[in-house]
């Protein structure tokens, strides 16, 4: 018989208390926690900014049913109920996007959250007679995408994790990227004395390897532990001073380097990963998974494969399933998951269907697993901030669907044919070394100046899938 440890008990208590609060709140106002999930550079921050801006202004959401039927009244920001988490600096990000010249917000380094209160008229006459004006609180959180990669570690022991990580390193390009750390690994054995400086040296080299993975041509996604890359407020603490070690025979001895690493791994799991998961992900109602498909196509087949693995691993940590009234009272389950291919404006609009098909193909395993659990799943190709216009131009006597926008780092707009997305499974033709070159674009000048919200592609359809039934 296995006894739950105090940490877990405290956690259960905390969750139960939170649950009571949630139920009390629901008597008066609906609350929905929206999980914006995505690996790094998938556009979470910009997505959240655009979502908030568009809900506040409400001028560009024709496919959101509440807006289409004129039941949407207004939305405004509120303080997050969680007083400890920093506020999502929406105004700062919006200012960056609407500045002259406009620029993208910098990469996220820590957790922040925000509550958006949406006022609407209920659709059913019965509810309208009781409550002429209803409020839905939408809680969104933003966090560095690197941290998402920690979630699969929750179900792994130090031995399993080390074995998996070392196995990954046997293949190129990781093998070459990890050369220096592997060299260090050759000089140590797990049975050595637990030496702090040795542990720190290993962790530093391992962190270098992780950084190299991210920066590499293949732009690898499966980069664990995520806090090594983006430490937040943990930089320099012993929590981050460990790295995988090959398992000898049996458990690592307590008074050894392996034992020390094992201990720190477990501490990292409970004090960093579990805390993050419980505070932010355990009570999600809806989830959107942002995937930068175009970036992965640019980076090549290795990156695509790596991303697929990373996504499947992360999503296993979430509870998906139909949120009936029982599960609403007893615990939360995500009952709708939307996979979104972001940055859809980097290709001509006629390619969006192919982009969505490609996403369908990439997430098919994760999607089936979630559907099996009973949650609704859909896919969409969207752009949180639309930076280009689709134009048709003549090129060598042929009509090409091109896009017009300012590529990143340039001053003036240009017209370019970004290439097509194949509609079949043969993504990478063998005779071409780098078949895709989808450029990133600057936010268009004067964006959002018309006061209707940031221009977007299919953000309204995504919102309708995610929030539509709460706004009924």
């Amino acid at each position: 018989m296995k006894f739950p440890n105090w940490n877990q008990l405290a956690q259960v208590g905390e969750q139960a208390l939170g649950q009571v609060n949630v139920i009390a709140g629901r008597m008066l106002e609906g609350t929905l926690r929206l999980g914006v999930t995505g690996l790094r550079r998938s556009g979470k921050t910009v997505f959240v900014t655009s979502l908030i801006d568009n809900l506040i202004r409400g001028g560009r959401l024709p496919f959101l049913d509440a807006v289409a039927s004129n039941r949407f009244l207004a939305a405004r920001l509120r303080a997050s109920p969680d007083r400890t988490a920093p506020r999502f600096p929406y105004e700062k990000y919006l200012a960056a996007l609407t500045a002259t010249p406009p620029h993208w917000p910098a990469a996220t380094t820590g957790v922040s959250q925000l509550r958006l209160a949406v006022r609407f008229t209920p659709g059913s006459g019965l509810r309208r007679s009781v409550q002429p004006m209803a409020t839905l609180n939408v809680d969104v959180i933003d966090y560095p995408g690197e941290w998402l990669m920690d979630l699969p570690m929750l179900n792994q022991s130090y031995r399993d994790w080390s074995a998996l990580t070392l196995e990954l390193m046997e293949r190129q390009p990781r093998r070459q990227l990890a050369a220096r750390w592997l060299h260090w690994l050759g000089t140590v054995t797990p049975d050595l004395r637990p030496d702090e400086s040795l542990a720190r040296e290993g962790a530093a080299l391992y962190t270098d390897y992780l950084h190299a993975c991210r920066r590499s041509q293949a732009s690898l996604s499966l980069v664990q532990p995520g806090h090594f890359i983006e430490p937040g407020d943990l930089a320099g603490t012993p929590l981050l001073a460990f790295c995988p070690l090959p398992a000898g025979s049996g458990e690592h001895r307590a008074q050894s380097l392996g034992g020390l690493m094992n201990e720190r791994f477990e501490a990292y799991k409970t004090q960093v990963v579990r805390r993050f998961f419980v505070e932010h992900f355990a009570r999600l109602d809806r989830q959107i998974v942002l995937v930068d498909v175009l970036g992965m196509l640019n980076a090549g087949p290795t990156a695509l494969y790596d991303m697929r693995m990373a996504l499947t691993a992360c999503l296993e940590a979430f509870h998906h399933g139909r949120a009936g009234w029982v599960s609403r009272l007893t615990g939360h389950e995500v009952d709708r998951v939307l996979f979104a291919a972001t940055k859809a404006d980097h290709v001509a609009a006629g390619q969006h269907a192919n982009l969505r098909n490609l996403l369908d193909m990439l997430v098919s395993e994760a999607r089936n697993a979630i559907r099996f659990e009973g949650a609704m799943v859909d896919t969409v190709a969207l752009a949180a901030v639309k930076c280009t216009e689709t134009v048709t131009t003549e090129h060598q006597g042929r009509k090409l669907a091109c896009i017009q926008g300012t590529p990143l780092g340039r001053q003036r707009p240009t017209v370019l044919f970004p290439g097509n997305i194949p509609d079949g499974p043969d993504l990478f033709p063998e005779n071409v070394s780098q078949p895709y070159r989808f450029l990133d674009f600057e936010p268009p000048a004067g964006v959002g100046r018309d006061g209707r919200g940031l221009p977007n592609i299919r953000l309204d359809q995504a919102l309708n899938f995610l929030l539509g039934d709460y706004l009924a």
Binding site: A349, A383, Q396, D426, P455
Partner: protein, 341 residues
């Protein structure tokens, strides 16, 4: 996707076409041919089953020739009679002659005007059929770029409608280059036509209450028939005018014929089931009063005809999630007995 289509659209390298500095050297020379998949498959579904069922029967040339001949003879006879009449009235007195000439001119003028209106109204009905087929094709093919043309055509069709100007203006703002054809059609459906649907629905509701009440109160069966016919014809004209068809007497008669054919042959998707349910519900009321029961059944029939008119006059076909249903009308009709008693 089949492998064949994938082979056909060969891989194509990215090219930058700078609009300020056209520099052909910068562009790779090999731009392989890609032609969008032909929309032939989508066209196959163009001929709507309902419309085909309800079309005029195919006659051989003899029948039109016969009726044409008769009409020509009648016109010639009328012309002879008219000149004869004019001659006789001028012979009787100059004033009478002038009067008869004026009356004749007015009659001929209005006849020409009426038939012109009729031709125009029938053309508009055809136009609506064409628009609906086009919208259906665009939704099914779900390509890109063609639907903006459709939106323009629809804008032209509704040009001069002051009540639709604001929604059409909003539509122009909402639709952008990133929307696919199916999305543009869906936006037209939601933003422009749903407002019309609401109003059409009210017409249908009023008409069905009118027939229900009137037939419940009318003393004779012959009067019932007259009331139902008159009210239904009026309803069809109202609904058609709302969607921009503006039918004349002949046009509304044709519309009525097509609708009756639809009701009788194909019916609305749910007609069989609902007729049974309606009849049962009716018989319950009939137990209380036969007249009331008849009234309600007449009301429901009127509602059915109204909804068929909506379906036939709408430039974009109803999608499964905004299909009009009889539920609300039935609930409304249930209150009729209370009002009568």
């Amino acid at each position: 996707m089949s492998n064949a289509t994938h082979q056909a659209s060969a891989w194509q390298p990215p090219v930058e076409l700078d609009m300020h500095h056209p520099d052909p050297a910068a562009a790779p020379a090999a731009v392989a041919a890609t032609t969008a998949a032909a929309s032939a498959a989508a066209r196959a579904g163009e001929a709507s089953g309902l419309a085909a069922l309800a079309a005029w029967p195919q006659w051989s040339w003899t029948v039109p020739a016969f009726f044409g001949g008769v009409a020509a003879l009648v016109v010639v006879a009328l012309a002879f009679d008219a000149t004869d009449l004019m001659g006789r009235s001028f012979a009787a007195s100059y004033a009478l002659g002038v009067l008869v000439t004026v009356v004749l001119a007015v009659t001929v003028g209005t006849a020409v005007k009426l038939s012109l209106d009729e031709v125009i109204s029938i053309r508009r009905l055809r136009q609506i059929d064409g628009l609906r087929a086009e919208a259906d094709r665009l939704t099914r093919a779900n390509g890109h770029g063609e639907a903006l043309g459709f939106a323009d055509t629809l804008g032209d069709f509704y040009a001069g409608r002051a009540d639709l100007a604001p929604v059409l203006h909003t539509l122009g703002h909402t639709v952008n280059d990133a929307h696919s054809d199916a999305e543009v059609i869906a936006l037209i459906d939601r933003q422009v036509l749903s407002a019309l649907d609401q109003r059409a629905y009210r017409f249908v509701l009023t008409a069905s209450r009118d027939t229900a009440l009137a037939t419940a109160l009318s003393p004779s069966a012959a009067l019932d028939v007259a009331i139902v016919l008159w009210r239904n014809l009026k309803l069809v004209r109202e609904v058609a005018a709302l969607y921009g068809a503006r039918p004349g007497p002949l046009g509304s008669w044709r519309l009525m014929r097509r609708m009756l054919a639809n009701l009788a042959v194909a019916g609305l998707a749910d007609s069989v089931g609902h007729v049974a349910v309606d009849a049962l519900g009716g018989s319950l009321a009939a137990a209380i009063s036969t007249r009331l029961g008849q009234g309600m059944i007449n009301g429901l029939l009127t509602a059915r005809i109204g909804i068929a008119a909506m379906t036939l006059c709408r430039p974009v076909g109803f999608s499964p999630d905004n299909k009009p249903n009889l539920k609300r009308i039935r609930a409304e009709l249930m209150s009729v007995p209370k009002e009568v008693l």
